[in-house]
Structure formats: structure tokens, C-alpha cells
């Protein structure tokens, strides 16, 4: 059995190719000039430049957070290139004009972008390094009034919305990496669902870092007006490099009265090799604001990649009766480190939240769940249920749970439970009895372990996530 488990981990990273595309990369280093350069390249209005510069000034006064349970050498923020874009020969008019190399890349990644997109029925915005290269289905979405485009485009075409909402959920000085992102973010997706509209299809963004020693700082902003609903998917990959790359994104969600946002992520950034060399530092700030009554924000994440993950998709439950949900599977292997979880801030009356976090650690990895449930004095009748389960594969890895529970209202009810388990010999024996081999058995047990989370994913993503876990843990059966 041990050989099964030992071999579980050695499947190579299949997205580790570099696309040979000419890219327009800025010189390394960060200063006000870099920010002016980025802003200038994107022909941004003055108010956005001011926003960036203000964030930069705040960032200069801040220090990287020390509290996460992860270890890494200090990052030299001057050794990173803050802008890298595929060199566009001319303004793209249609999908046919997209660089064929780029299309091939996305084909390899399995991103449905043209005809296949139609079949899959998913509208995709693709972010390559720092710049959005294509958005499909835009016209069809526009018919019902939905705006789905890159955030740079939105800055020009819908400045009033960006002005109103950018930084409203994650303020520029929120934390070290959010401040950095606010200063240098290059692109990302923008999505606006007007009043009463149910988005007819799933929206999706695919992120890819292609250039070595570049950082990716994308910014996503999703607004669902009264009664609107949307399901949004996000996928991430990167090529293999020996150096560590920084990915510091900010995602902001705003849900007004009766709105419903479902945000699903399958994160498979390059995790480094089996000795822990290379890989992405994934330091992401994701936060949703349930601003209106009866609004709902649901985060689902499958975290399998990145050398280091530092990510806490959160919900601020301000509207009465609003609902926050967090479903997470975090898998770490080799020398990966993950410190991930959620924050549920209950401010409104009768707000409810549910947390289901599943951590799987293998190899020499370290997997931590860190969560906060805060019930403010105003949140009468608030309700939270949290469940965190860890599974350890091998005796060299670690699984930690740090749930912070802060309650200031006696009318609230908060429950938290956690357990730790392993794949038992008896379970494998049971499978073997029924003619199911070790590897398949392990895969089935893990899928069962993660079922509560996978059920929350949209169909195609659930299939992908199941496969991804298989890929991550598969190996030859000994």
C-alpha cells in the first residue's frame, strides 16, 4: 500500500509548456515610473492613475504578512517585471485574428474559445500574462444587458461603474499584496449583471502566466444588481520555470438585494518540481460583499497548484438574511505550502454562512486551514456552520487548522468541527476485495472525501477537478 501512496504524487505537470509568443515585457522593478508606464500603456484616465499611485504610497509603508503558516525567502519586488503582454500586431477584431500560437496554447489547456465555446456554452475571457486577449460571447451577453469584458476595456467604456466599485470591497490598503495589486494591476475581468437578469450562461476566465520572472496582477470585479444572478468560473495555469513567480490578484464581488453570485475556481498554477524548486507564489485577496438583503455569495475553490497558496475568499454579510458559502478542496504535494480558508463577517441580522473545507496533504507539503467567523454585535440571529476535514497521505506532511471564532452577539449560533483522517488499510482492503486496485481505490476515496465540495462546482468544472486531483495524485501502482 505504501508504494501506492508513494507513487500517487509523481504525475508530471501537463500545463508546463511555454508558448513561443513575442511578448512586450516591461523592465524589472517597481517605482512610480513603472506605474505611470503601465497606466500610460493602457491609456488610462487620470483618476485610475491616482488610484494606483495612492495604493503604491500605501504599499511602501506596509510589510509582507508574517502570520501565515508558510515559509519562503523574502521576495525581491524589484526583480519582478510588472507588465508583460503578448505583442499585439493590431487591434483584434475577431477571434480569427488571435495569434494562432496563442489559440494553440488554449487548445492545449482545453479552454473552449471559439466553436468549442459555443458547444460548451461558456463565455470565456482569457488573460494571458497580464493582458486580456479574447472575450467570447460578448454580443450575446450584451443582448440581455450583461457587460462582460476585460477590466481595461471597462475602464474606458464604463468608467462610472469602475469608479463606483473598484476598491469598494478590497480597499487599496487592505493588505500588503492587495495594495501591490492596486498599484500595478494590469488586467482582469469585469462583469456587470443588471437588475433582474439571470445570466444565461456560465462566465469564465482563464488565466495564464507565460513569461519568466514576470508577475501576474489581475483584478476581477463582478457586480450583480438587484435580483441578478451569475455563475463565474476561473481557471489558472502557468508554464514550468525554476524561478518562483508572483501572482497577486484581487477579486471583488458585490451582490445587491436578492442577487446571487457563485464564484468557482480551479487553481492549477505550476507548483514547482518534486524538490520544491520553482512554482507560483499565489497570494490572492478575494472578497465578496453581500450588500443587499437576501443576497448570496458562494465561493468554491479547488486549489491544487502553486508552490505557496495564501488565499482567503471571504464574505462580508452586510445585508439582512444574506448568505455566504465557502467550499474548498486544497491539495498539497511535494513541498507545496497552502494557508487557505475563508472569512465570514456577519454584520446583518439573520445572516447565514457555511464553510466546508477539505485539505489533503501528501509528500513533504504543509496544508493549513485558516478561517475567521466573526459575528458582530448587530448580527442577531446569525448562523454559521463550519466543517474542516484533513487527510494526510504519508508521514512527512502536515495538516493544520486555525479557526478563529469571534462572537459578540448572544443570539448567534456558531458551530465548528474538524477532523483528521487517513486512507485506512482496511478501506483499501475493502476495495481490493471487490477487485478494485490500489490506485483507483485511493482516487475513489479522495473523491468521496471531496464530494461535498465537488457537488458545488458546475458540471464541466466538477469533471475537470476530479481529473485534476487524479492527475495530481496518480502514479504507477506498486
Amino acid at each position: 500500500m505504501s508504494s501506492v501512496l508513494q507513487n500517487l504524487v509523481n504525475k508530471p505537470y501537463e500545463h508546463g509548456f511555454v508558448t513561443d509568443i513575442e511578448s512586450d515585457t516591461a523592465a524589472k522593478g517597481l517605482s512610480e515610473d513603472t506605474i505611470r508606464m503601465i497606466s500610460g500603456k493602457k491609456k488610462e484616465p487620470q483618476w485610475l492613475l491616482d488610484f494606483r499611485l495612492k495604493a503604491y504610497q500605501r504599499w511602501l509603508t506596509m510589510t509582507p504578512p508574517q502570520w501565515p503558516n508558510v515559509k519562503y525567502p523574502p521576495i525581491d519586488f524589484q526583480a519582478i517585471s510588472y507588465y508583460s503582454a503578448p505583442k499585439a500586431k493590431k487591434k483584434l477584431a475577431s477571434m480569427d485574428e488571435v495569434d494562432p500560437e496563442l489559440l494553440k496554447t488554449f487548445e492545449k489547456l482545453g479552454v473552449p474559445m471559439n466553436e468549442r465555446a459555443k458547444l460548451a456554452g461558456v463565455a470565456v475571457d482569457v488573460i494571458f500574462d497580464s493582458v486580456s486577449v479574447a472575450t467570447t460571447y460578448k454580443a450575446k451577453l450584451a443582448e440581455v444587458g450583461i457587460i462582460f469584458c476585460s477590466i481595461s476595456e471597462a475602464v474606458h467604456e464604463h468608467p462610472e461603474l469602475i469608479k463606483k466599485y473598484l476598491g469598494s470591497v478590497v480597499p487599496i490598503g487592505d493588505n500588503f499584496y492587495a495594495a501591490l495589486n492596486s498599484a500595478v494591476f494590469t488586467d482582469g475581468s469585469f462583469c456587470f449583471i443588471p437588475k433582474g437578469v439571470k445570466c444565461p450562461m456560465d462566465l469564465s476566465t482563464y488565466f495564464r502566466i507565460n513569461t519568466e520572472e514576470s508577475g501576474q496582477f489581475e483584478r476581477t470585479l463582478i457586480i450583480a444588481e438587484d435580483g441578478a444572478s451569475v455563475s463565474y468560473l476561473e481557471g489558472c495555469t502557468a508554464p514550468k520555470f525554476d524561478t518562483n513567480q508572483l501572482h497577486a490578484a484581487v477579486v471583488e464581488l458585490v451582490a445587491l438585494d436578492n442577487a446571487d453570485i457563485k464564484y468557482s475556481t480551479v487553481q492549477n498554477w505550476y507548483a514547482g518540481d518534486e524538490n520544491g524548486v520553482g512554482g507560483i507564489y499565489n497570494f490572492v485577496t478575494k472578497r465578496g460583499l453581500c450588500k443587499g438583503i437576501n443576497s448570496r455569495i458562494s465561493w468554491t475553490q479547488v486549489e491544487t497548484g502553486s508552490a505557496i497558496t495564501w488565499k482567503y475568499p471571504s464574505c462580508i454579510l452586510r445585508g439582512e438574511n444574506s448568505v455566504g458559502e465557502f467550499y474548498s478542496v486544497a491539495l498539497t504535494n511535494h513541498y507545496q505550502q497552502a494557508d487557505t480558508g475563508t472569512k465570514m463577517i456577519h454584520l446583518g441580522k439573520n445572516t447565514r454562512s457555511k464553510i466546508v473545507a477539505k485539505g489533503i496533504s501528501a509528500g513533504h507539503s504543509n496544508n493549513s486551514y485558516r478561517g475567521l467567523v466573526r459575528i458582530a454585535p448587530s448580527a442577531t440571529g446569525a448562523r454559521n456552520y463550519s466543517q474542516c476535514d484533513s487527510m494526510l497521505i504519508g508521514d512527512q506532511c502536515g495538516a493544520n487548522t486555525f479557526p478563529y471564532i469571534q462572537v459578540s452577539n448572544p443570539g448567534a449560533k456558531v458551530e465548528h468541527e474538524a477532523s483528521t483522517s487517513k486512507i485506512g488499510e482496511d478501506q483499501l482492503f475493502y476495495f481490493a476485495q471487490r477487485g478494485i486496485g490500489g490506485e483507483e481505490a485511493v482516487s475513489m476515496i479522495i473523491n468521496g472525501f471531496c464530494k461535498d465540495v465537488f457537488q458545488q462546482l458546475p458540471m464541466e468544472f466538477a469533471v475537470e477537478a476530479t481529473k485534476l486531483l487524479g492527475v495530481k495524485l496518480e502514479g504507477s501502482v506498486g
Binding site: D395, I405, A412
Partner: protein
């Protein structure tokens, strides 16, 4: 700027320090601790370990060392005497009061540390300050810097203490700092019940900075009841360090009712295969009290077992903090650990911060923890009302029952009843 003020607070406390006399073991330990105090600062809410406990009310007062012990009579301490525990050591403001104490000798030794020192110097040198690490803990370092006496319990191999041993610490003076110290060493196969009891005869502000070390050898069994019922204006900082060995069993019950601000660190280390630890805790606070309990159970070897239940009952605008850390080190396979943190909020202004924390580095273990925060269950209240109880009685009874689940494990009947009365009296007010 803050840092200077911090150091000043510690330096002022140290100013009353009696210089280390000679090069004996205690002197060397004190000298080391004095050095550490110089290097450390008072923790602030920026320290993760003190995030929810602001020590500002404590550090605002300047405390004097005890100049002269208050002379108490037997009548003064009568309310605290336990009939089941004739063997007793009494400390007034941290200073040993021989006229009130009834030490014991022989296989079950109960004595002041200073009195036993000539005969037990090797053991004291080996054990004192070993478990209660003060390298990074300013308060433990301070206590150690002042250590020249304390309570010593020595259980010889296979010895059984037929009756509980009572260590009574009484605070009597305004704005003084007392440094109680306990050392309990249980040799192989021995067993005993030790009651560590902090009480006050003054309504004023004072500081109790207590450290207790409990060393269990193979197959030793120790029941340890620690009761903190300081005055409502008092400050209590406590540190309990326990080591358990092969087949030994430590059962600790920590009760915190008193003090304006209290902090209790409990650290249990399983040093050999197959030790067992059970921790019960009850913190009941109201008014503007703050009770902070930090526990760590560290399983370093295989086959360990631990069970923990901590409860907080919080009323008024009081706050309770609980941080329960369970560590399973690499190689500590087949550890079986469970932890539950249950909290009852009785008022709109009360607040709970709880963090049951698991750190696991072994794959073949069973660990579970749970935490709940809420008010009394409406169904339960309704059930009692349907049996003819008034709303107030029903609530009082349910609150009492919530706390009594911890108290019922206290093996000394008179103490248990007294504490139950306290809980009942408080629930009726609330």
C-alpha cells in the same frame, strides 16, 4: 515609544528583585531569568498569542514587591480550608505562611520549597524551571527571577496520597505583585490529587503571576484542580507546564471565576509513548472581566491520548478567550485526541473569541475538534417551562448545568459544592 514603556514596566517590577545570593542552583536560575526579563517586552495585541487580550489595564498600575507578609489567622483562612485536605500549604501574597500550613513528609512530601531545598537540592536543580520555559514568556521569566520559595510536592515511587493536597495562595495587599510557584514531581507509579487554589482577601487591584510545573514519571497519576477566584479588581497571569511519560495520566481541571483580567497558559507535553492527558476548563465571567485561556497539548511520541473540554460562560460586557492548540509531531502515530470548546453568551455585550487549533504532522492519527458558540437552547428552556419552571429559573438551571458538567469531575466534594454554589449564585444574578 511603546517598547520603552514596556521595558519600563518590567524593569520597575524587577527593581524589587532580591539579588541572587551566591552561586547555588536557585541563584543561577534567577540570574538567567533576570537576564531574560531584560531582553523581553510586555506582549501587546500585535502578538498573535495576545491578540485578544490587551494588557494595558494591568500595566497601567505600578506594583510593589511584597515588603512584609500580612499576618493572617486561622479564622481568616477558614472559608478556604477544605476538610478533605488536611495537608495544606498557605502562601500569603506569594510568601510562605508556616503558621497556617500543615506540611507532610515521607513518601508524600508536601513542603515549602525553601525548607526542602537542602535535602532536595539536586532534584530542585533538575526540575525547577525545566518545563516552564521562560525564554519567550516575560511573565514566566519574571516569576522565575523572583523564585526563592514555593510549594513543593514530591511523590516517591509507588506512593499514593490518600487525601488531596491543598496549595492555597491568598492575595491580601493592594498593588503588590506576588509570584507563587509550584513544583510537583510524581515518581513512577505514584498518584495524588493536588488542589492549586488562588483566592483574595482584598477587593483592590494586585497582580498574581503564578507558575506551576508538574512532572509525571512512568505510570504516575495526577489529578490537578486549579481554581482561580481572585478579587474582581485583581490581575492573574498563570502558567501551568506539565510533562507526561509512558503510561502516566494527567487530569487537569482549570476553573476561572475571578480577576478583572486573567490569562492562563497550560502546556502539556507527552514525552514518552502512551501518555494520557485530560483537560477540563470552565471560565465564568461577567461585568467587565476578561478570561483568557491558552492551552497546548503536544504529542511528541506515539500512542498518546488526550481529551479536552473547555467551556466559557460570559455575561455582562465580559470577554472570554480560548485558544486550544493540539500538536501531533512527526512520528507521533496512533495519537487519539479530541477537543471541544463550548461557549455560552448570556448578554448582548459579551464576547467570545475561540480558536481550537490542530497542527498535525503524522498520518495515522485520530484528531477531532469542535467549537460551538450560542445562547441557551430555546427548546430546552421551553421544555423546563412546560414543567412549570419560570423563565428565569429555567435559564439559571440550564446555565448551571452547562458549567456543572466541568465541575462534577472535581474529586473533592466540599470544593466542588462551593464552586457549584458560586455558579448557581452567579446565574441567578444574570
Amino acid at each position: 515609544m511603546m517598547k520603552v514603556a514596556d521595558n519600563k514596566f518590567l524593569a520597575d517590577l524587577l527593581a524589587g528583585h532580591v539579588p541572587a545570593d551566591g552561586g547555588d542552583a536557585l541563584g543561577r536560575l534567577r540570574a538567567r531569568a533576570v537576564e531574560r526579563v531584560g531582553a523581553l517586552t510586555v506582549p501587546t495585541t500585535r502578538d498573535e498569542d495576545w491578540r485578544f487580550t490587551d494588557l494595558a489595564p494591568l500595566t497601567r498600575i505600578s506594583y510593589q514587591p511584597v515588603r512584609a507578609a500580612t499576618a493572617l489567622t486561622a479564622a481568616d483562612i477558614a472559608p478556604f480550608v477544605l476538610t478533605e485536605a488536611p495537608a495544606r500549604l498557605v502562601f500569603v501574597d506569594g510568601i510562605y505562611a508556616p503558621q497556617l500550613s500543615t506540611p507532610a513528609s515521607g513518601a508524600v512530601l508536601l513542603s515549602s520549597l525553601a525548607a526542602a531545598l537542602p535535602a532536595q537540592s539536586a532534584l530542585v536543580e533538575n526540575e525547577l524551571g525545566r518545563m516552564a520555559a521562560f525564554e519567550n514568556n516575560a511573565f514566566t521569566a519574571l516569576n522565575t527571577a523572583f523564585v526563592n520559595d514555593g510549594a513543593l510536592v514530591l511523590l516517591a515511587r509507588g506512593a499514593t496520597a490518600a487525601q488531596p493536597l491543598h496549595l492555597l495562595f491568598i492575595a491580601t495587599q493592594k498593588e503588590v505583585a506576588g509570584y507563587p510557584r509550584c513544583l510537583v514531581v510524581a515518581a513512577a507509579g505514584s498518584s495524588a490529587t493536588v488542589i492549586e487554589d488562588y483566592v483574595a482577601l482584598t477587593p483592590d487591584a494586585y497582580l498574581t503571576n503564578a507558575v506551576g510545573e508538574f512532572v509525571l514519571a512512568d505510570d504516575a497519576r495526577l489529578n490537578h484542580v486549579r481554581v482561580q477566584r481572585e478579587s474582581a479588581a485583581g490581575f492573574h497571569i498563570g502558567h501551568t507546564a506539565v510533562s507526561i511519560a509512558h503510561g502516566s495520566r494527567y487530569h487537569g481541571i482549570n476553573i476561572g471565576f475571578g480577576a478583572r483580567l486573567s490569562r492562563h497558559n497550560v502546556e502539556v507535553v507527552q514525552t514518552a509513548e502512551g501518555g494520557e492527558c485530560e483537560l477540563g476548563g470552565l471560565a465564568m465571567v461577567d461585568g467587565s472581566q476578561l478570561a483568557d485561556t491558552h492551552t497546548t497539548i503536544d504529542h511528541t511520541k506515539p500512542h498518546g491520548a488526550s481529551r479536552q473540554q473547555h467551556k466559557c460562560i460570559v455575561g455582562g460586557s465580559a470577554r472570554a478567550v480560548f485558544n486550544g492548540r493540539i500538536v501531533v509531531r512527526q512520528g507521533a502515530q496512533l495519537t487519539n485526541s479530541s477537543q471541544s470548546s463550548r461557549n455560552l453568551l448570556l448578554s448582548d455585550r459579551a464576547r467570545i473569541d475561540t480558536k481550537p487549533q490542530l497542527e498535525i504532522f503524522a498520518d495515522d492519527v485520530k484528531c477531532a475538534h469542535g467549537a460551538t458558540v450560542g445562547q441557551l437552547d430555546a427548546d430546552e428552556v421551553f421544555y423546563l417551562k412546560s414543567r412549570g419552571l419560570s423563565e428565569a429559573t429555567a435559564r439559571s438551571l440550564l446555565t448551571y448545568a452547562f458549567g456543572a458538567e466541568i465541575l462534577r469531575d472535581i474529586p473533592v466534594a466540599s470544593l466542588r459544592q462551593r464552586l457549584e454554589q458560586t455558579v448557581l449564585a452567579r446565574t441567578e444574578i444574570a
